[in-house]
Symmetry: C2
Subunit: 456 residues, 2 copies
């Protein structure tokens, strides 16, 4: 099948399901629906009307719906709506049947009151598991971990571990790593299912387990957890508290979401707009973009005020006005490049302290080199175009200085923000360019004032 055929085949399946709903054919619906992958179930579900969804709730068990809900990646409002339209006891049963980390993500969208309502409708065990995860801070390992892991004791044999695994396989989020704990539930080893399979039933776990377990702490930043996944290529990582007690696991599918989030946030920072929600009304999009635009407008006013101080200079030599936007624009471009490299470097560097001075010197040198080349180029252009080498010299010098300063700002500001504990990606591109406008104008008019008498 090619992609198109596959898409058509899937559309046909969705059609068949819709007809089954319309004809109230429960068995047809169930048979065809449960054949779909949970992601496809979710795609179908999202395409339904409220009435059709209500019908689905009566056709599927809370557990069956829970599997699908585990894979839903809708926006907050839609997810809230779905939960609210279910009978509370049905919703609570579904939440209990979901993987705990996903159930917690859903409950975090609701108010405290609704969360309490659903918890009260669950079995005490399910409610306790969820409550345990509810209080972890956002964006930490604790917030993305799940408690559905498999753990065993070291004095078991491979055979008994396999029998235990068979029992747990239905509820665990992953069975491909088995964590070995002592009787205080402290993590002492790890063994992969691959290792279990290639060893004889009689072998003891303690003989074949790896005692050097790579783990993360419950309070670790989720981006650091993602980096550990990138480095070690694991499918799951155990999460412990500060006394090595095993609390849960983070799985690679959740990490892919974290990596996407990380990329989106860096990207949003560079653009000065949160790009997370891309399909919204112009009014909503405007309210999202205006705060930055207006803030930058006021910052830009500083540049305008500065130029106003040189109005006399401009009125004497209006040719100066011609090159304002060229100098501010080029310096802004250089600053953006420098910023992007700095933010990226901070994201992947392990040893930030050591490299601070080195990076700074490197950026100044890069600024001087790019500035000199660009400056000489514009000197040539202006000298020929306007037949005025002195004016060319002024523009070229200003260009070089402005680019060097912009490069410095582009790399210095994110590094300072990082040192002060802020996310360096917040030092956005527009902020750097607007700031660099200010310094560029200052440099430009001061150099121009110096040589004023020579080029007129």
């Amino acid at each position: 099948m090619n992609d198109l055929e596959e898409k058509n085949e899937l559309d046909t399946r969705y059609e068949v399901l819709k007809i089954a709903l319309q004809e109230q054919n429960l068995s047809d619906f169930r048979e065809n629906f449960l054949e779909l992958h949970i992601y496809e179930q979710g795609q179908f579900y999202e395409s339904l009307t409220e009435k059709e969804r209500a019908q689905m709730y009566s056709y599927l068990s809370p557990k069956e719906l829970a599997d699908m809900f585990d894979s839903l990646e809708e926006d907050e409002d839609a997810l809230k709506e779905y939960l609210e339209e279910m009978r509370p006891s049905y919703a609570a049963a579904m939440l209990s049947a979901m993987y705990t980390d996903n159930a917690v993500d859903l409950l975090n969208l609701l108010g405290k009151k609704d969360t309490a309502k659903y918890l009260s409708l669950m079995s005490p065990e399910a409610a306790a598991e969820i409550k345990e995860l509810l209080h972890y801070e956002d964006e930490t390992a604790g917030a993305i971990m799940t408690t559905e892991y498999v753990s065993i004791l070291a004095n078991q044999s491979v055979g008994s571990a396999m029998r235990y695994l068979k029992k747990e396989a239905a509820v665990a989020e992953t069975i491909y790593y088995i964590y070995v704990v002592n009787d205080q539930n402290q993590l002492v080893g790890v063994i992969s299912l691959r290792d279990l399979i290639v060893n004889e039933d009689e072998t003891f776990i303690s003989e074949i387990m790896s005692e050097r377990v790579i783990s993360v702490h419950v309070g670790d930043d989720q981006f650091d957890v993602a980096q550990t996944f990138r480095d070690y290529d694991f499918l799951a990582l155990p999460v412990t508290d500060y006394e090595d007690h095993l609390l849960g696991i983070v799985t690679v599918d959740d990490i892919i979401d974290v990596i996407d989030e990380e990329a989106t946030s860096d990207y949003s920072g560079l653009a000065g707009v949160n790009v997370e929600e891309v399909s919204e009304s112009p009014l909503k999009a405007s309210t999202r973009r205006l705060p930055w635009l207006i803030t930058l407008l006021f910052l830009g006013m500083a540049t305008a005020t500065l130029i106003a101080k040189y109005e006399v200079l401009v009125s004497e030599a209006s040719i100066l006005a011609v090159f304002i936007s060229l100098i501010t624009g080029t310096a802004g471009n250089a600053g953006t490049q420098s910023l992007a490299v700095a933010v990226r470097r901070l994201a992947i560097s392990d040893d930030k302290e050591k490299s601070f001075i080195r990076v700074l010197i490197s950026e100044i040198l890069t600024g001087l080199i790019t500035g000199a080349v660009t400056g000489i180029t514009i000197f040539g252009i202006v000298a020929v175009w306007k037949g005025n080498p002195i004016l060319g010299f002024v523009i070229g010098m200003a260009m070089m200085a402005a680019i060097t300063v912009a490069n410095l700002a582009g790399s210095l500001i994110p590094m300072l923000m990082d040192r002060l504990g802020f996310d360096p990606a917040v030092a956005s591109g527009p902020f750097i360019t607007t700031l660099s406008d200010l310094t560029s104008v200052l440099i430009y008019f001061n150099i121009a004032a110096l040589f004023m008498s020579h080029f007129q």
Copy 2:
């Protein structure tokens, strides 16, 4: 252990290894080295001198080194150097022992001559496997897939499949999905190791396998493959040709690299600089940044030429010069926001054709709203600051028009590039802002010329 203790513990291990190398203590070295995770082995290896590395090659078998090389993520030059310093027969043996996809990645760094040399030193089977993957186009499923998967026939029992798996576990890249093929090696089903484990030994594979296999085609773009991983949360996906023959699998660890690459490319595009290599000399960094800067400088010259045409206007009312950078800057910021959202939307949208007009209208409306709010704000400021409401009106109108046009350009250009088959991320931020400078100046001076007689 906390993070710091873990880091210190690892440093101690690296120290012990270095001493073992210095003391030429083979058995100590091997024991301690093989205890490390392959990622850590790689970190240690990268910290060595050429002489120490040469010693390592004599202490480790090609297979042991291959495991470590599978996880190396160094830059091209370093990897080439490593290969070249090994004896050719040792390097060839190591390449044969690596996962085929990684070996191919390495060979792609070398010239044709070197590749042929290593292939000639391998066993015919290993060379054939590698050759098969060498000719797939960059950035396709074929280029990132590996051939170390496990496949079985449908008429086997769970027990016999498990026995086969035990044998294959040592060489397969993943054993957590087993692919079911017919006697023409066409993909007919899939079963997870989890399913094998929970079913009885006597059950036939055909009874429990899933016949709806999600697969990708060998020529599919790697970013599309990554999207399928995101949607379906798989650990691996089978790759087929256009007649459903199973050719290989793509595993989730390779997909994480693809997702990082995707994010870096979008981010680089927005900044107008390739941020992939972050630790390079100022000279190298400059040669990377200058092409864009100089290109944009020439584009910026168009704006300067345009302003030059209005020099008479500026010399009559030098106050106009004060607001040039404010208008170009703000419009540039708006254009960058719009660009970022458009590129993101194109990256995640499934149905690009349908939404083209809708997005365009939405962006124009967003431009008008943000433009109106920003325009009214600047009107108020200028009217009060300069005591000149007519000038304020000119600046406000120009601001609104410039922002709307910049928004339009920011969303239109990436969409057009996408339609023409280019990567929309190449429509970089600096390009959009420089272009928007041009239109902003045009708009500004034309409006100013209209009202010239009124505000002086």
